[in-house]
């Protein structure tokens, strides 16, 4: 769905590309500066939030998803859903038996001594 009837193509205006580029640079500086401050448990979430915002800008404008057929974007979002399921369930799994792992490690250490 290019929007043009005569097979014309949608070229992203240079001004838009430059604005996205500027925003990406600002967000990069922001994430480096914020890394010098400590927000406790929020550190990781702030860094990941900025990274996601940057990724969104790249996907929407540089990768043309904003103007593309919605189906391409749906495919992309589906992969992210599966990545979340994959990593989320792995984390749930590993955290559910960490206590036993630590106990076992302590047992082994005691045996060595």
């Amino acid at each position: 769905m290019n929007g043009q009837a005569n097979g014309g193509v949608h070229a992203v205006p240079l001004r838009v590309l430059a604005q996205v580029f500027g925003a990406l640079l600002i967000l990069t500086v922001l994430t480096v500066v914020l890394a010098n401050y400590h927000f406790g448990p929020f550190d990781l979430w702030i860094a990941m939030g900025i990274a996601t915002l940057k990724a969104l800008l790249v996907a929407l404008f540089f990768m043309h998803l904003r103007w593309d057929r919605p189906f391409n974007g749906v495919i992309f979002l589906c992969s992210l859903v599966f990545v979340f399921i994959f990593i989320g369930f792995c984390l749930l799994d590993t955290s559910s038996y960490q206590d036993q792992v630590k106990l076992r490690q302590n047992d082994l250490l005691m045996q060595k001594k």
Partner: protein, 244 residues
């Protein structure tokens, strides 16, 4: 045999109203372009899932042993990492600009932007090489190759001293951080190298005048690949370099 010739003759007859790049199983160039793009997006999805295995390893190890990551990340040069992030974002910008140039038929702009993208990619790999050689020098490697003490004592210079300050007592399993670091940045670096090859191929074809408003599919597709490489680095940089 004659059938082939006949088919060829039919195709040849229709070639007047069909562009040379349009394959016979597509009705219009737009259909061919959209199909290629859909195929590329499916490939990019497999790439994301491919990398997600490493991101998962990272998440599991960091959740269970955060001290390894706190210890390991101190050896990574934040300045070089940030420089590489900016270089890669710049290359993404020039790549998007190159696609625009191809779409509007600006051949000179296309060639210049492809060269700039290639130079940025080479710069990224150059900085990566500097970082890797520092790690090798200080024995900050994966698995049983991890032996920072020996190298810190043998080595000289401020870098070794800085490393020596950290090697007082590496936590158990500190080598896992470097395994993950080299695994993730190595796979990403391999993608950058492949991307450089593809950009070079585009550059040669652009110089021959293959691309214009009617046909820019390869530029667009390689562009998508290149932006994905940038996208993955956007997450790798804070996850590996900016830990606390």
């Amino acid at each position: 045999m004659s059938q082939v010739l006949e088919t060829g003759a039919v195709d040849g007859g229709g070639a007047h109203d069909r562009p040379a790049h349009l394959a016979h199983h597509f009705d219009t160039p737009e259909q061919q372009f959209e199909t290629a793009k859909l195929g590329m997006w499916v490939f990019l999805v497999t790439e994301i899932l491919f990398f997600s295995g490493l991101f998962c390893a990272y998440a599991v190890f960091r959740a269970n042993n955060p001290e390894i990551f706190l210890y390991g990340h101190a050896f990574l040069d934040k300045t070089l990492g940030a420089a590489n992030t900016i270089i890669l974002i710049t290359s993404s910008f020039t790549m998007a600009w190159a696609v625009r140039c191809a779409q509007i038929g600006a051949r000179k702009g296309l060639i210049i932007n492809l060269i700039l993208t290639f130079v940025c990619a080479a710069g990224f790999m150059g900085i990566k090489a500097v970082e890797y050689s520092q790690k090798v020098e200080h024995g900050l490697l994966w698995g049983n190759k991890f032996n920072p003490e020996v190298h810190a004592v043998e080595g000289s210079g401020s870098g070794a001293e800085a490393a020596a300050a950290h090697v007082e007592e590496p936590p158990v399993g500190a080598h896992i951080f470097f395994g993950i670091y080299f695994g993730m940045t190595g796979l990403h670096g391999l993608h950058v190298l492949i991307g450089m090859g593809l950009i070079l191929w585009l550059l040669i074809r652009a110089m021959k005048g293959h691309f214009g408003p009617g046909y820019f599919t390869p530029v667009d597709i390689v562009g998508l690949y290149w932006h994905l490489v940038d996208l993955i680095w956007i997450f790798l940089f804070p996850l590996l370099y900016l830990i606390h």
